[in-house]
Symmetry: C2
Subunit: 116 residues, 2 copies
């Protein structure tokens, strides 16, 4: 993952996702090794519901990946791990990405695709 590969919206999503203490810690914990949800929740000292929301956001942004596996006892465990990525942020790279931003607020109801 390279900054220049991302559209403005994608970069925005990644930055929004990373800009959270909880999600930073979740990512940091996963860098140490993969873990399943309940395990991770205990490790971080937060509720599963909360962790799940953050994990989902991290996954949507492509920062972590998930695999559903069965333990020896036959229990379903959802393992997460940190996705490898490298982002080079500079004023220039951000300016480039910003040029492709499609902001609904600034976009007065026009169709993004097709006509312009």
């Amino acid at each position: 993952m390279e900054t220049s590969d991302l559209t403005g919206d994608e970069l925005l999503q990644v930055l929004s996702t990373l800009a959270s203490p909880h999600r930073m810690r979740v990512l940091a914990a996963l860098v140490e090794g993969r873990a399943y949800v309940s395990q991770l929740a205990r490790h971080l000292g937060i509720s599963r519901a909360l962790l799940q929301v953050h994990l989902r956001k991290l996954e949507k942004a492509g920062l972590v990946t998930a695999q559903l596996e069965l333990s020896d006892e036959g229990k379903a465990l959802k393992f997460y791990e940190a996705a490898p990525f490298v982002l080079h942020l500079t004023p220039g790279s951000i300016a480039t990405a910003a040029a492709t931003l499609t902001d609904p607020a600034a976009d007065h109801g026009a169709a993004p695709k097709g006509s312009e």
Copy 2:
């Protein structure tokens, strides 16, 4: 500015600041060249009040700098320009920064680190 130079809180501030369409566009506009507030507001098509808030946040995060100057007519103009910075974001660099996070909300008033 290097990712490893930043504390978790500083990185969080930078990311939070960048994670906004308006601020991305403001930064992008300043990459093209310095500009004063009213000028920039007209260029971006947003209100001065709104722009000022975003500029302030960008400045606090160290992403832009400001200089107060007098025009030929003697009017006070506040010029802003993009600050040069390079951030290398990787799971590892984020994990390192996350270790120094001081989050009041997630910090239940005690041990910074330790037992598990």
